[in-house]
């Protein structure tokens, strides 16, 4: 097995894994960062979403060998102390229920706000394809609008 050096949340992390291992399992099991979730393993649900060079990416279908040298951000690295506007908005709107999909939802929304600081409802509909079985979509939408507003007024 080759050693692969990952750049996760600003830290260089050498990992000794097969390059065809999905990034999700390297994050969760090799690096012990369990905030990123396994939902389907086929890129369908979005629970595993992280940022690769700022792009929302489904880590369950991303081979670890393909992201060496790229900038990986997980929910744990989104902000210190839950201070990202989306995390504050998620708390204010009481978005999570079971909470399992929320890391992926927040990471997808964060990439959207970087691209479009003031997304419309249509932008949200077309970007937020992550699934939530508890049906928190109404509040996710509200929280994204709140974060967009507060992110620029602070």
């Amino acid at each position: 097995m080759a050693t692969i050096t990952l750049n996760v949340n600003g830290r260089k992390q050498p990992v000794d894994v097969a390059p065809e291992t999905p990034l999700l399992w390297v994050l969760r099991e090799t690096l012990g960062m369990t905030g990123t979730k396994f939902g389907c393993g086929r890129g369908l649900c979005g629970s595993c979403t992280v940022h690769i060079d700022g792009e929302a990416t489904r880590s369950c279908v991303t081979l670890v060998g393909s992201v060496e040298g790229k900038k990986i951000t997980t929910i744990e690295g989104l902000s210190p102390n839950r201070s990202h506007p989306l995390q504050r908005a998620w708390i204010a709107e009481e978005v999570p229920q079971c909470g399992y999909c929320q890391s992926g939802q927040i990471m997808t929304a964060a990439a959207l706000l970087t691209r479009k600081p003031h997304p419309t409802d249509d932008d949200i509909d077309s970007s937020m394809s992550n699934l939530c079985r508890c049906g928190t979509y109404v509040r996710i939408r509200r929280a994204i609008h709140r974060a967009a507003q507060e992110g620029t007024t602070k």
Binding site: G41, G99, D125, C132
Partner: protein, 714 residues
């Protein structure tokens, strides 16, 4: 699982320990009428407290939460009940999930469990009384220390205050003395008008942990030397391993062992991915057993044939058969619902560590004592040697009441002697679920010459959940979960006959959010709409006219209709439908506004929901649970269908068992009826009315009556 029995008031409180640990109070919740007939508690058993308040000298108040947090907000609602009476800031209360054991049994179930929308319902009085008792003991302690009369002392925000001297002591400073005080009997509870916390929106205690990835779910558990297993299961229900060859699998990177367990062949590796790759390398010959030819078409035929014959009487009033015989204005219909999977976002998983002298199990479970009994049975250990550590649940919806995934982990750890985490893939989860029953229904109604319904007949045929899990709950051929939402039809009709026939079909069935209500309400609330149309009446007015004896149904129906603008003009090619359902002691009416998308599919644009759930603890959670129940029910109405071919489930993941998405989610408005009635449930009652409300709107829009779910009109 419907709670129709009022909460027994004979809960009582006892001091558990005083030895230098501060104040520790236990509350005993007496058994209620057993909806689940099997029980671990018998009358005359010694006192076992089952909810706890712990106040330590460092002024930390801890509430032991004996229910599972699966998104429904119980980790916040139960401490709110204590905090209101204890006079302590909710934000300063710590919570812990209770271990497994008879002390924590749900009085509605006779075992420890979170379900049936029962958590707040069963805890409302006992936990408030526990908080008040602790408060009175702290006040008595302060009065004694100060040498003043307790009636001049009061508790406020974590302190006891002497009204005359304005001296104050925090609870931590008082617990040693308080623990020596007699436990007061019949403490006065606050009147609803004096509540400061209950009925006000409160921030959930688990929210911060769920926005930064730090909440620990079962799948996140880490133990030293832990291995991860993936299990190959027979694709046919009830099939067994005939033989297997693990030679290739054992050569795969990271694979540590391959072994046969009850559910199939477990491949154990240093991590999930290697275990899964190892499983791909297995060669297994299955004995597919009796269900090898099972198919959805065959199941429907069997149900249809059974529906020709009379069933057991679930409700019989008047003589519906006589009224139907030779009636001139008769409406008849057949309704069908499919099997459904739970599809929690977190697939089933469990971590177990079996040792000679004990066993630890870390699991997101709705049924701790069943998990404990399962592990005890496999290991041969006494139940008390099995410790169940309840994590957060990445969705439950009834699925996590079962312990099949617990058995996987315990068996594998027992064989290897190290901690083992078993993870189900999404496909494992969907194809080896326990499903909401498929049912076949024949209905008939009779109208008199003025268009008033005089007879209602409903024959339900479907598999029984209780026969497999609590068989003694099935009495005189009636599984209460099979007829809820049908036998309790609220409408004032003189002749009502509801029959039920159990069909044994080979597909495992289980509790699924709102259980029988989820499907029966679709059927009854759609058929009553058909009857209204046949009578030439407005569906809202028709229902309203039949609810004179059901004022809470009527009130939510009227509120939802008013807020939705029932009867007001709509945009072109939009239509409304309405439904009202009582489940788990809560009354919910929903109005759905639909149109068709470019492909002719149903688009739900707006849902208005009115809920009367009695006394409200956390209104924001009530709103959230209604939103959640509606989205869950929309997925079922618009998309949900598990089909069987050659004994195998044909769906495997979210591509062929899709969930509602953000873009498909309507705007949802929730209105709560102010009430001081007994608390009803909120986790489930949002789900039942949505399918019929949507289907009735589809009829209003297209003239097509949906009698089979999911909706397929395009």
């Amino acid at each position: 699982m419907n709670a129709t029995v009022p909460v027994n008031r004979r809960d009582f409180i006892k001091m558990i320990s005083t030895a230098g640990t501060g104040l520790l109070l236990g509350v005993y919740l007496p058994p209620l009428a057993r909806v689940f007939a099997e029980t671990t508690a018998k009358s005359g058993e010694p006192f076992v407290p089952n909810a706890w308040i712990r106040i330590t000298p460092d002024n930390v108040v801890t509430i032991l939460v004996d229910k599972a947090e699966m998104g429904q907000g119980v980790e916040t609602a139960l401490p709110m009940l204590v905090a209101e009476e204890l006079e302590v800031d909710l934000a300063k209360i710590r919570t812990e999930f209770a271990p497994a054991g008879p002390p924590y049994q749900n009085p509605m179930m006779g075992q420890q469990g979170t379900g049936g929308s029962s958590s707040v319902h069963t805890s409302f009085d006992p936990l408030r009384r526990a908080g008040a008792t602790a408060r009175e003991m702290l006040i008595a302690a302060a009065a004694q220390q100060w040498g003043v009369d307790a009636k001049f002392c009061h508790a406020r925000d974590g302190f006891v205050i002497d009204e005359h001297s304005h001296k104050k002591l925090n609870y931590g400073e008082l617990v040693e003395t308080a623990a020596k005080m007699p436990v007061p009997k019949n403490v006065a509870l606050k009147q609803a008008k004096d509540w400061e916390l209950l009925g006000q929106p409160a921030h959930r205690v688990d929210t911060p942990l769920k926005v930064d990835g730090s909440a620990v779910f079962g799948i996140d558990v880490k133990m030293p030397d832990m291995l991860v297993a993936v299990v190959a299961r027979c694709p046919v229900f009830g099939g067994k391993v005939k033989s297997f060859d693990a030679t290739a699998a054992k050569k795969m990177p990271g694979v540590k062992d391959v072994l046969q367990i009850s559910s199939g062949v477990a491949v154990v590796a240093d991590g999930f991915w290697n275990a899964r790759k190892g499983r791909d390398a297995l060669t297994i010959e299955w004995d597919e057993g009796a269900n090898a030819k099972l198919s959805s078409a065959g199941i429907t035929e069997k149900l249809k044939a059974l529906a020709e014959k009379p069933g057991a009487d679930a409700r019989k009033e008047g003589d519906a058969a006589k009224a139907l015989d030779g009636a001139t204005k008769k409406i008849e219909a057949v309704y069908e619902v499919p099997y459904l999977a739970h599809a929690t976002m977190e697939p089933m998983n469990c971590t177990a560590h079996v040792r000679k002298d004990g066993c630890d199990v870390w699991v997101g479970t709705q049924g701790q004592t069943l998990a404990q009994r399962t592990a005890a049975g496999i290991t041969g250990l006494p139940p008390e040697a099995v410790k169940i550590h309840t994590t957060y649940l990445g969705g439950g919806f009834g699925r996590r009441f079962a312990a099949d995934f617990v058995a996987d982990a315990v068996e594998t750890s027992k064989a290897l002697g190290v901690p083992v985490k078993v993870i189900w893939t999404r496909e494992d989860d969907m194809q080896h679920d326990l499903y909401r029953p498929a049912t076949y229904n024949r209905l008939a109604a009779v109208l008199d010459k003025d268009g008033a319904p005089v007879a209602w007949s409903h024959r339900i045929v479907g598999p029984s959940i209780m026969m497999g899990v609590f068989p003694s709950a099935v009495r005189d051929g009636i599984d209460p979960t099979g007829v809820e939402g049908a036998a309790n039809l609220p409408y004032d009709i003189p002749n009502i006959h509801v029959e039920y026939t159990i069909a044994d079909l080979g597909v495992p069935v289980w509790f699924w959010r709102s259980v029988g209500n989820s499907q029966n309400s679709f059927i009854t609330e759609s058929f009553v709409d058909e009857v209204a149309v046949a009578a030439g009446k407005d569906p809202f007015e028709f229902r309203r006219g039949l609810l004179a004896k059901s004022p809470r149904h009527k009130a939510v129906l009227e509120l939802a209709a008013t807020k939705a603008g029932w009867g007001q003009p709509l945009p072109k090619a939009h239509a409304r439908g309405i439904a009202v359902v009582e489940s788990f002691d809560s009354f919910v009416a929903e109005v759905a506004e639909v149109s068709l998308d470019e492909d002719g599919g149903v688009k739900v644009n707006r849902v208005v929901c009115a809920v009367d759930c009695g006394t409200v603890v956390n209104p924001d959670t009530v709103v959230a649970q209604m939103e959640s129940g509606i989205v869950f029910g929309l997925t079922a109405a618009l998309k949900g269908e598990i089909t069987i071919q050659n004994g195998r489930v044909q769906q495997g993941s979210f591509d062929n068992y899709p969930l509602l998405t953000m873009a498909e989610t309507p705007t949802i408005e929730v209105y709560i009826v102010p009430s001081h009635e007994t608390c009803g449930g909120i986790g489930e009652p949002g789900t039942p009315p949505i399918a019929p409300a949507v289907c009735n709107a589809v009829f209003a829009l297209t003239g097509k009556r949906v009698r089979k779910l999911p909706i397929k009109i395009a």
